[in-house]
């Protein structure tokens, strides 16, 4: 892992000088800003059972589906298309360092974007000064969920980029995989054909991978070790497949 930090800092730098990153950031922050204003308007009309932070973080899938592909689609697909993968891998750098370094950079940026939404809560605190609107529990739970689930979402983006030659295909594949992961769980969980006894193992696996349910638990303050394990192990798996995909393409190109 000697070169991990070299690659990480290089990649973060390259993301920061890339105009596309700022476009993504502006879209992300304005989208989340609209969501937040909308929530505040609802709260100002009538008192609600939940805190604004809870409703706000419930919309996490909106930016995830668009920002994660934007941030990650370039990382390995572009290197391969330009041929710079060849120059990169003929230096004393391992494939693992390259993949993990790029993954780390995308994750840092993803978290940076989410951290910027902290400004919304700060503005709310500064101008509304209403302690009922700022419940720290769901807020901390929400950010924790974003941080933990982000590990997996970004890893899926890197995997999509590792198996595709063009950015566009990588972006679409990443979107499809994230969509399947976030909404497929609740769809399958509700499916009647999985209710039978014979399907019990499948059903329990599906119940285990309910991303939307995980979110509910996190904001209620329930941080289940099994859920953490789900995200950490899937992240490791996605990154392992990415490394294998990069190496397999070396053998068969």
């Amino acid at each position: 892992m000697k070169h991990f930090f070299t690659i990480l800092s290089h990649e973060v730098r390259m993301l920061l000088v890339n105009p596309a990153t700022y476009v993504a950031a502006v879209i992300f922050l304005s989208l989340m800003g609209f969501v937040f204003t909308d929530i505040l308007e609802t709260f100002s009309r009538a008192a609600q059972d939940t805190s604004p932070a809870d409703v706000f973080f419930k919309q996490f899938y909106l930016p995830v589906l668009f920002i994660v592909p934007l941030l990650t689609m370039k990382c390995l697909a572009e290197e391969r298309r330009l041929g710079t993968m060849e120059t990169l891998l003929t230096t004393p750098v391992t494939t693992t360092e390259v993949v993990v370094g790029k993954y780390g950079a995308a994750y840092v940026l993803y978290m940076g974007l989410w951290a910027a939404t902290g400004g919304f809560f700060w503005i709310l605190k500064a101008f509304a000064g209403d302690s009922r609107l700022l419940d720290p529990g769901p807020m901390i739970g929400g950010y924790l969920f974003i941080a933990v689930s982000g590990l997996l979402f970004v890893a899926i983006g890197v995997l999509a980029s590792a198996v595709c030659r063009t950015q566009a295909v990588a972006g679409i594949l990443c979107f499809a995989m994230l969509f399947a992961l976030i909404f497929g769980g609740s769809y399958l969980g509700a499916a009647t054909w999985l209710r039978g006894d014979i399907m019990h193992p499948v059903k329990s696996a599906v119940d285990y991978a309910q991303v939307l349910q995980h979110y509910e638990d996190f904001t209620r303050g329930v941080v289940d070790f099994r859920q953490l394990l789900f995200y950490f192990s899937s992240t490791v798996l996605a990154l392992l497949f990415s490394i294998l995909a990069v190496e397999a393409k070396l053998l068969h190109n």
Binding site: K2, H3, T6, I7, H10, M14, V17, N18, L82, G83, T84, E86, T87, L88, L89, T90, T91, P92, V93, L250, L251
Partner: protein, 328 residues
């Protein structure tokens, strides 16, 4: 430098084979490159030059055979190899949105150049490659000649003992080719260099030794002069004369009985003809030939010993390998 590295040739390749889903790209290639040598890979498109080079860098595994660089086998110690090889791939891929100095710094860090030495080393390679003026320019906006020099600067950055460059002069104008050629020649003795090209005069000028590859096989190797002798094996004289052509055969056989005469049909307005004489003798026959022709009352306008170019060698060698393959 360890003891292992000292007495070994820089590159040793034996019985190297690479197949891609049934197609053999490199077929039983063996060669050795000594330290400090500049060697040229020559071959038509698709001959297996790039594939061989990629295998030398450890980027692509070989199907069978072995490669060792500075005594380290590529297959098992690819980490050691990567520290000892500077590689510039075909078409020289570079990131578009970085400045030259930033790019070299990043590459230097990846190649494990100590941080304290990196700054001065970057200045040095920028100087050598004449890139000082453009060091803060963005690579994507550079012309082809500059990009190519950035690739070379990057390859020599970590001062590796072995440098492999795939078509370093492709797409350059003649002036830039001379600069790149001088640059490569300046590495002679310090580093072992392998370059591939299909521009023949360039290889002839810079390389100590030439390896001609065709259809995945080494069809000829040696110094340009040795290759000329080995493959063409004869010397040609071109003379323009006028006189009694019926006695020409007799006159030239006095010089060398095995000489063959090829008369051209056209005679110009003053009765001069171009005649090509081919002989196996390597020594200079020009003077004797001239004397005998004048004694036989020929009017001689010119006599010229033709130097076969590497191009002739290349064409002869690749044709020869096709003949061999056709016979099989």
């Amino acid at each position: 430098m360890t003891l292992l590295e000292q007495n070994k040739p820089a590159i040793e390749v034996s019985h190297l084979v690479k197949t891609f889903s049934g197609v053999t790209a490199v077929n039983d290639v063996s060669f050795t490159v000594e330290k400090g040598e500049i060697i040229g890979f020559l071959g038509p498109n698709g001959a297996g030059k790039s594939t061989t080079m990629r295998m030398l860098t450890g980027y692509m595994p070989a199907t069978s055979g072995s490669i060792s660089i500075c005594g380290f086998p590529v297959a098992t110690q690819s980490e050691e190899i990567k520290r000892r090889v500077g590689y510039m791939p075909e078409n020289n891929p570079l990131p578009e949105d970085m400045r030259i100095s930033e790019y070299l710094y990043y590459r230097g860090r990846l190649k494990e150049v100590p941080r304290s030495k990196l700054g001065s080393r970057i200045d040095e390679v920028l100087e050598v490659c004449d890139l000082k003026r453009v060091r803060h320019r963005i690579i994507g906006q550079l012309s082809k000649g500059f990009r190519q020099r950035v690739g070379i600067a990057e390859a020599i950055l970590a001062e590796p003992p072995v440098i492999i460059m795939d078509e370093p002069t492709i797409g350059l104008d003649p002036h830039q080719i001379i600069i790149v050629r001088d640059l490569i020649a300046s590495l002679r003795g310090r580093m072992t260099v392998i370059i591939s090209s299909h521009i023949l005069p360039e290889i002839e000028m810079t390389c100590d030794r030439v390896l001609i590859i065709n259809q995945g096989r080494v069809v000829a190797q040696g110094t340009p002069a040795a290759l000329r002798r080995e493959i063409l094996g004869h010397v040609r004289y071109e003379i323009i004369i006028s006189g009694d052509f019926s006695s020409l055969n007799r006159v030239v056989s006095l010089v060398d009985p095995n000489i063959t005469v090829a008369l051209q049909d056209e005679t110009d307005a003053e009765g001069f003809k171009t005649v090509v004489l081919t002989t196996d003798k390597d020594e200079e026959l020009g003077e004797v030939l001239l004397k005998k022709l004048i004694e036989a009352h020929f009017r001689v306008r010119s006599l010229n010993r033709q130097r076969p170019t590497l191009e002739d060698v290349f064409l002869a060698a690749t044709r020869r390998s096709w003949d061999v393959i056709d016979k099989k």
